[in-house]
């Protein structure tokens, strides 16, 4: 699904990602874990071509993101860390339809997909609500709905549980798991919380821009976690 080959990325003089190679299988559930500032978000943005590497390449379904980022983005949806800033329209159902407008859906089709998606996430009752009036948990779900409506093969969640209470945390994680198991959507869950590895099959550990572990969750051990600065 996604393949990164020796990617390097820097802001000004500082390398944020150093020689990262990895592969994400279709249908898998991968957790991308690392301490604050380790480069998780930057790496994740490479997966849908929002950021392209300075050196090396990223392929999404065989498409080089440097050559065709649009098609990379059609395949890989992104739920951002700061979901406050990812809603464009003021009314929930309109915002959820934003991506579908860009895909040039007809109005009827758009409406039915939006309704279906909202219902699926059990937020049908919020359709006409102003996004500024939503709670954090609801905003998160609306942000997800906007991505899910576009029917991507893979979704990146960047720290989806920050700012949520326990109930909403569990809800969003359960939804993510459902999307993976039932809808066969490839999931990349960016997190800095060990507890959220629960649902993942694969784990990638980042430490200051380098991958220090990449493999089955069962092979992850205390030493690696400690090395990444993630133990408590």
């Amino acid at each position: 699904m996604i393949k990164a080959k020796n990617i390097y990325f820097r802001y000004e003089e500082k390398f944020i990602l150093k020689n990262i190679s990895l592969e994400i299988e279709e249908g898998s559930f991968t957790a991308l874990i690392g301490a604050n500032g380790s480069g998780k978000t930057t790496l994740a943005k490479h997966f849908n071509g929002l950021v392209v590497p300075d050196k090396g390449s990223v392929f999404v379904n065989g498409i080089d993101t440097k050559k065709d980022s649009l098609n990379a983005r059609k395949n890989v949806g992104f739920v951002f860390q700061n979901f406050e800033d990812q809603m464009v329209y003021s009314v929930v159902e309109e915002d959820v339809g934003f991506g579908l407008e860009n895909l040039e859906y007809s109005y009827d089709k758009l409406k039915s997909v939006v309704d279906e998606t909202l219902k699926k996430l059990r937020i049908g009752h919020l359709a006409k609500v102003n996004v500024n009036a939503l709670s954090q948990g609801q905003k998160q779900l609306v942000a997800l709905a906007g991505v899910l409506a576009m029917n991507p093969k893979c979704i990146v969640f960047d720290e989806p549980t920050t700012n949520l209470d326990e109930k909403n945390k569990k809800n969003i994680l359960d939804i993510i798991k459902y999307l993976n198991r039932k809808d066969k959507i490839t999931i990349i869950l960016v997190t800095n919380m060990l507890g959220e590895l629960k649902y993942a099959d694969e784990v990638i550990v980042l430490k200051s821009g380098s991958v220090i572990f990449n493999g089955k969750k069962s092979r992850l051990n205390k030493k690696i976690i400690k090395g990444a600065g993630l133990d408590d």
């Binding site: 943005k45 849908n48 929002l50 649009l70 983005r73 059609k74 949806g77 992104f78 951002f80 700061n82 406050e84 800033d85 990812q86 809603m87 464009v88 329209y89 003021s90 009314v91 309109e94 934003f98 991506g99 407008e101 860009n102 895909l103 040039e104 859906y105 007809s106 109005y107 758009l110 006409k128 102003n130 996004v131 500024n132 009036a133 906007g146 991505v147 576009m150």
Partner: protein
């Protein structure tokens, strides 16, 4: 704290005015506003007001909403009235007409925002501005800009308020120039950050300025009826 977080007083109702084509509504508002300013005599005003009143009834707007919506204008009404009273008491009648006209003007816009969701307005603006295409302006960009402004201006106020509160809790003094500078630069920084986040999110969702939105706006029977109706009304006044 800021209580009112968003613009627009749209209320969902099933009425003729609600389902009228938003493009037509915008055009009517423009036409009616011009009419309001052109009507000079008391007679014109009475006919005109009855028409507006009829629209208010048709839109099922309750009086409470109107009174609430007008609250911020009372001061201006009072001011206008006082001006006439002080400077040209012999023209008091005209003064009243002026205020009355102003009131009509506000009511017309209220009917529009009450019966039309922002998305409808935005789409209508997009459609109405499509002749601008010949100048290389993309209607979709205009529409998206309007939507984003509507979405983020209230958020900005909230952010400002949060920042102000947290600065005041740490004893900031907004009479000091450097504290004002600080809050302004923090706001700018925050806005730029949001803008960059937002553009990432828009590109992730395949933002495409070239397309025309397919929210089909097609005139329906009662849209045509309304055109005839408004045209008749204009003829009636003149």
């Amino acid at each position: 704290m800021i209580k009112k977080l968003y613009f627009g007083q749209y209320r969902h109702r099933e009425t003729m005015l609600h389902s009228l084509d938003p493009r037509l509504k915008i055009i009517y508002v423009l036409v009616l506003s011009i009419l309001a300013f052109l009507s000079k005599s008391m007679n014109d005003m009475i006919v005109f007001s009855s028409f507006i009143l009829l629209c208010v009834l048709l839109a099922k707007i309750d009086v409470k909403t109107i009174i609430k919506g007008l609250r911020s204008f009372y001061f201006i009404f009072a001011f206008l009235f006082l001006m006439y009273l002080m400077f040209s008491p012999n023209q008091l009648r005209q003064g009243l007409v002026a205020i009355w006209r102003f009131l009509m003007f506000i009511l017309i816009s209220m009917i529009l925002t009450f019966t039309t969701p922002i998305s409808g307005l935005v789409t209508a603006i997009e459609k109405l501005s499509s002749p601008l295409k010949i100048f290389g302006i993309r209607p979709r960009n205009i529409a998206t800009t309007v939507s984003i402004a509507i979405r983020f201006i209230p958020v900005m106020f909230v952010n400002f308020e949060r920042m102000r509160e947290s600065m005041i809790s740490r004893l900031a003094d907004f009479r000091k120039m450097n504290h004002i500078k600080l809050v302004v630069s923090l706001m700018l920084h925050k806005m730029l950050k949001s803008a960059s986040n937002l553009s990432d999110a828009m590109y992730s969702r395949l933002y495409n300025e070239g397309i025309e939105i397919n929210k089909i706006l097609k005139l329906k029977e009662y849209d045509y009826v309304s055109i005839v109706f408004v045209a008749l009304f204009i003829l009636l006044i003149y």
